[in-house]
Symmetry: C2
Subunit: 182 residues, 2 copies
DNA sequence: CACTTGTTTCAATAATTACTGAAATTTCAG
DNA sequence: CTGAAATTTCAGTAATTATTGAAACAAGTG
């Protein structure tokens, strides 16, 4: 593997493991991300110097996360893997999957905790805090879910607007009037 | 520990470990988050049923992340720990720390990779991909850094606006005219 | 259907990460 | 100072998670 690519792949593996993603899985992904053409499993084995079975499991994991796509080459029985082109798309998929796997279960845990009758002052307070957390997570993820339905280029423009939209609101709070959107 | 709180703390520990945060650290934080009053280390030991040294290390970690505050009670030599009240604040701190520890180093790795002269077509392509990633991360985190300087209530209002700001932009893209902000 | 090629599964093992208890350190009251 | 209380450190151990190799499986091919 070229040093340039090696550095990137290793760094990515390190980062992945800090975010709770298996090191090899992250490395496989990084490698596919920078590769000019799709790779088959054995090419990955050679590049990363890990076992064939490890690569197989890693690719399976990445497919479960919808982060890689497969394709066949004519006259070749091996499967070729590639990462989607658009970085926004990748980010969106990652966010959706983590929402489904981690955030949604948390929200439902919180909701069911909020249903029980508090038996003492401590429980009452704990429920209040859980409600705050629930509301916060719902707002954040709800906003995100709405916003990510916008097209990548609109998103980019929205980001580039930076905080100016917020500053507008802040001005309004200080007694100004918000210009009507119509 | 009350069952209501126990469920919350355990769930949080589980989630933490999926996001690369030590299980005990997450549990300590969850416990402090729902507690009506600040707790001292031994109270945490008792509630979570882990060793005193584990709690000590966990609290140290949380302090390094600026996620807990300490206070003294009069006539008591023990340190009392508590989590900040405001959930936005908590989120912001977490985001800032992860930015500093993980995102910034990644950006600088990418930048230095982009400086080297590509030696072949593969490297040229890899650099292009790294540039895309660099641009994306910078945009996202830059936007976030700007936006999080807004006050919590402005942020809340911005979120509640949902994607309507984006829909406005999208309309403009389809040939309409954007109302001037002046 | 026997054989080749590619892929997956899974029990055993390796590597990593977390946790503990004993000892060291800090802090403060008397 | 001295000693008691609180906390921290750290080497050893436990628990968890990742990786491997061997075997099973699947899908063509001649």
């Amino acid at each position: 593997m070229k040093p340039l690519i090696q550095t990137f792949v290793m760094h990515f593996g390190e980062m992945g493991s800090r975010w709770g993603i298996n090191r090899t899985v992250s490395q496989i992904y990084a490698l596919l991300f920078v590769s000019r053409e799709p790779l088959h499993a054995d090419a990955i084995v050679e590049a990363l110097n890990v076992s064939r079975s490890n690569v197989s499991m890693g690719l399976k994991e990445l497919q479960a996360w919808r982060l890689v796509e497969t394709q066949m080459e004519p006259g070749d029985r091996r499967l070729y893997y590639r990462a989607p082109e658009d970085v926004w798309d990748i980010f969106r998929t990652l966010a959706e999957e983590r929402q489904r796997r981690e955030v949604d279960p948390t929200l439902s845990m919180l909701r069911s905790a909020l249903l029980s009758e508090p038996a003492c002052e401590d429980e009452r307070h704990a429920q209040q805090r859980m409600e705050q957390m629930h509301e916060f997570i719902e707002m954040l993820t709800g906003w995100f879910a709405e916003v990510q339905r916008l097209s990548p280029q609109t998103l980019t423009r929205l980001m580039r607007l930076g905080s100016s939209v917020g500053r507008l609101l802040e001005l309004a709070d200080r007694g100004g009037r918000l210009p009507s959107p119509n």
